[in-house]
Symmetry: C2
Subunit: 331 residues, 2 copies
Amino acid sequence: MATIKDVSRLAGVSVATVSRVLNQNGYVHEDTEKKVLNAIRELNYIPNDVARSLTKKSAKMLALIVPDITNPFFNELARAVEKVTQLYGYATILCNSDDTPANEKQYIHALKQKYIDGFILATNTLSPEEIQQLDVPVVMLDRTISSTIPTVASDNREGARMAVQFLLNQGCRTIAHIRGPLELSIADERCQGYLDEVGQADWFQPDLIVNGDFNLHHAADAIHELLDRHPDIDGIFAGNDIMAMGALRAVQKRGVAVPDAMQIVGYDGITLGGMVYPELTTVAQPIYEMGLLAARMLIKLIEKKPLDVMHYKLDVELVQRGTTRGSANQP
Amino acid sequence: MATIKDVSRLAGVSVATVSRVLNQNGYVHEDTEKKVLNAIRELNYIPNDVARSLTKKSAKMLALIVPDITNPFFNELARAVEKVTQLYGYATILCNSDDTPANEKQYIHALKQKYIDGFILATNTLSPEEIQQLDVPVVMLDRTISSTIPTVASDNREGARMAVQFLLNQGCRTIAHIRGPLELSIADERCQGYLDEVGQADWFQPDLIVNGDFNLHHAADAIHELLDRHPDIDGIFAGNDIMAMGALRAVQKRGVAVPDAMQIVGYDGITLGGMVYPELTTVAQPIYEMGLLAARMLIKLIEKKPLDVMHYKLDVELVQRGTTRGSANQP
DNA sequence: CTGTTAGCGCGTTCAG
DNA sequence: CTGAACGCGCTAACAG
């Protein structure tokens, strides 16, 4: 591996000059620039990132920490983030915290040792105070925890309302909700949206809401119990697509026809929803756009540019497919 | 952030001594060691990874490059790899190449700038020569491309045989195979295993084999065409679970009952296979074990320790579930 | 416009 | 056993 010294020697200039053409700062004569460029090409020189990081105290690198890399939602997010960061000359590293605080902290500390420039957190394990203490730029994605930390999320409550309204319009008489983890704000908001629509209905009962922990198998189990208690349920709004798939699986196992006897709507709009049969009707978040926005915000933060918006709340869209009636995609 | 200098000052010793207790090499008096340790604790000192990497020309870091991070197979692999590397004091970074050579090369070069110590490649885009030229330790995972590069894979041919044999035992009369990409050795081997079992059967025809590119939607499309041509097919062996899910989806869409009128077996044993209904019968690879082995091999390679085995070929196991008959998990 | 020089934080001889 | 000094490869003043 050639070093900047080799280049300077071959070009007959000082290392400072080479550094200048490399970073395009300071004045440098056209002719000497050419000489340097030639030397660089000839030696196939590539600057050493580690040395550079050491002096700049920055690795041009940021991390996206997600709770579950298996969840396609986060993969789609990761793509978007990577796209932006690449554009701005940053590297992205993807970390799976498994929703465990210890893992998350481990990653964060390990990466801080490497002069990481910032984090996008799609996780929920750190308190606002802990994040503040990190002393590194942070953007929260799909989780709101503090007004002082920049955030990108979708309009969860409105999205939930849309879903439930749609189920009512499709003729559902008794709609259950399978919600996400209790501590999670997005799960609360989606539950609120459900309550907005049906909380006052004469058939409504609090135990139509069950917890599925954003987990497929928990959701499936919860649905089985729920249907044992309330055989009259003919609509399910799930707090995310994974749970909707769990519900679908449970319902199918009981031999109940979807969407004829039971309609299901999820939330997220992950591609996996199109992989099951019938395809999942869902409230689609603009996942890619959320990733783009979060990455741009973080980079602005890192480069100390002003943020025009601190908290994004993006619009969602109802995607009608096979688990509800009246769609072209229906069985 | 405290530096080694701060520590040395507080402890009243030289930086060299601090370095010695940090790395536990060289002689150092018990008492001075205590002083140093105390200073370290007091200052909450953590050595700077970047500076360390610069002198050691190693970042204690390795990368796992996978073609599709959305595929749960690779996630399970990633967990295993991370587990081992952590144990040995290495950091792991997970990269998604999207099966594009350009992406893969981009990652590799970016990481080489950061003094990465080695790669585990679960991809297929680089030629053996290109890998050799990288001048960095590499282990191939689930792909064999050259006898000189260490490899971890499962016994694909035998696994495929098991799957097809099982379908025959379950009473299938006409078994199709939906295979993976043509250039992929593992796809070839699984196809061979299929041919081993049924290539001589009187009902066999070459066009019972179709290409699904390890992709769910391609697989679904291919199955539709196939069933139009051969309505008599009553068994499908898919080259991986994702394609098996595509096949399942296609079959269900046609209103064919699984497993009564059609039985399906996949390959891989990803958890996703348990998330659809009916649950996928599959040939399970020891995914976790494969990840462990690959990581251990790579670390041995990096630390220039001898490898006792260059090419691992692991046993697989048939997991009977709902897409074949006669299982407890059947509908 | 260009070269010299002093760090960045740490590891490592090589004398003591 | 311990410390002084140099080097890893690069950037950033500061002179010229």
